[in-house]
Amino acid sequence: MTGGSVASSPAVATSGVAAGPIGLRAWLRLSDQPFGAILGFLLPALLFYLAFTVYPVLLTIYDSIFRVLPNRPATYVGLANYTAVLTTDPTFWQAVRNTIIWASVGPVTEISIALLLALALYAKIPGMRFFRIAWFTPVLMSYVVVGIIWMWIYNYDWGAANTLLRFLGLGQLVRSWLGDPSTALPSLILVTTWMWTGFNMVVLLAAFHSLPAEVLEAAELDHCGWMGKLWFVMIPMVQPTILNLAILSFVGKMKVFDLVWVTTRGGPLWSTETVSTYVYRRAFDWNTFDLGYPSAIACIWFVIVLAGVLVLSRIFRRHQQLEF
């Protein structure tokens, strides 16, 4: 009957985990499950995971306590890389600051605008499908394409942004958007907002549509007014979705590389330097070929990202049971 669960005995015998096949299967609570099939199904994925995710992470941690140069064995430096990064590297802290700003402001703008748009579409404006498609398209573009297009838009002389300002008579607001340290990062945040708001909008719209009708009708009967209905009923009910989007957006911004690399490469004056670009630069674009130092940066950053995600989930926790 169990055609797929053939050779489980020899496999277990060589694993040495438990005495005999019955012991292992009992421990794994597999008494009535096809061990061989499970293993077969899981093995490829596990191999990929171990080889290309777990092993690299461990190797990165290992690298971070060495100086890793080509054509010679790595020299052990203990925690020297970590102390150097944390105490003597202002560029690192600037990069962390920029990335955290990006990852905090980004989700706020993307989700709040998306909320408004989703509500507008929920109100059944004509042409809904067209709007949805038009707003979603930026999500599909490669950051390289987006970066090049927006560099043209921000071009001082003939770019759309400054031309529009001049056209509206706001010529004194014209500036080199990507060339000025005080406007470069906000300009890039605008670009990612442009890209991702459509995605958030579509998700929120789906969430709104899946809200139970009775609750909404009840709210309407209570004469909440549409503002009240919005604030006290609809938004709280899609809170889990908002949290998910916030985390997705936060994590996404923490990873940003392509956009910066194509447009400003971290300048001007490190105002758009992100941890991503800094790690890449230290590893692949620096005067030394040392991989230990950027590995240390990556490890520190990993801890910061994890902490950030935990903090975010905690902020939203309240009564919701967070289920991953």
Partner: protein
Amino acid sequence: MRLRHVLRTLATVLAVSTYMAIAPAHAATLSLWTFWGDQGAKRDFIEHAVKAFEAAHPGDTVQVSWYDKNSLYAALKTALRAGQGPDVFYAEVDQVEYIDNGLLLDLSNRLNWGDIEPWAKQAWTFGKGTYGLPLEAWTVELYYNTKLLHELGFNPPANHQFDQKTFLALIKAAHAKDITPIALGVGDRPYPGAFLTEEALLKEVGAADYGKLMRGELKWSDPRVVKALTYVKSLIDTGALPKSFSTLKLGESHAYFYSKPGSVMFLMGSFYPSRAFNPPNQGGQPPDFPLGIMQYPALDNAACNECKTMAVGGSYVVNAATKHADLAVAFLNTMATPAMGKLWVETVMGQTGIKTDMAHVSGPHAGYFKELAAVNDDAKYFFGLPSQVMQGKRRDAFTQIINQAFPAGILSVQQVVDRMDAVQ
């Protein structure tokens, strides 16, 4: 029967081994990764060298991959570290990391050094070895539009050099007429923005102290340094540079100067012709453009107003891990001859590290070259760009501060001094 069989086999073996002995060695392909794909004359030069090499080595070929500069560096950094990469590739003298990690072949005993200028060889000498063929050399130049200069009411300076006050007046006059005084852009390069500052510093403190400043042995708070920086700041504050300076790309800055919107002056290395002398529809200057050359402004009471920077630019190096070392070196030597040097100078219109008789340059742009020689008649050269002398954090800081933030008007002189001294 048996004997015939044996004899036939022997004959075959003999024939095959004779053929292999006298036939050329197994045909090899050299891989070459290089920049300059979009610069007509230089591209032609390389292709000419490839043809000459292939003619001299029948059966061997060179496979050329053209890259733009940033992509080239990115690809090389990963490939070389992986122990792979091309046999021969384009490199510049600031890439000491290749040498520090033993990734380049030592060419000390292999190139025709007799045909190469000693100062060019020096640029590629680190420790006991010399690692590159210094093909391109260039000086930091100031080009200008003679017609615009005249329209603004100025005459070309007597010894090709304005003094401090007149230069500032020129900037003011251009700005007043809404003409950008100097075209310059650092959108995709880490060095052009620093030209104005570094030439001023070089002139003010002289070659020896300038070298000290670049190597970190002299502080930026030195009063002479501050004096030079203050002068440059006065130029910047008068609106000398375009508003799009931070994002304007190198190629675009050329067009800014001689096409649209047009500027009075342009700061560029003497490899200017490699873009400017292309046909106009490929980004070159208009055929009758009134081009002039002059020196950077002289500073009052400066140590060396005739000093200027010369640098070794694009060079070719051999991968230490190459399997065709002799062939690769032979390819380099194909370029290291006086004839090739002359070809370079005449077509590229720039200097070279190969010993060349500059006096007898001919060709359609000979006039330009004569003017360049005349302007630089009394020049004393400091060899090396700051980005070639500085390393690590100091170079990164120089790029962000002197190359970009200071000329963009974002930092004050004191801020520059403080930040540069912090990494000095």
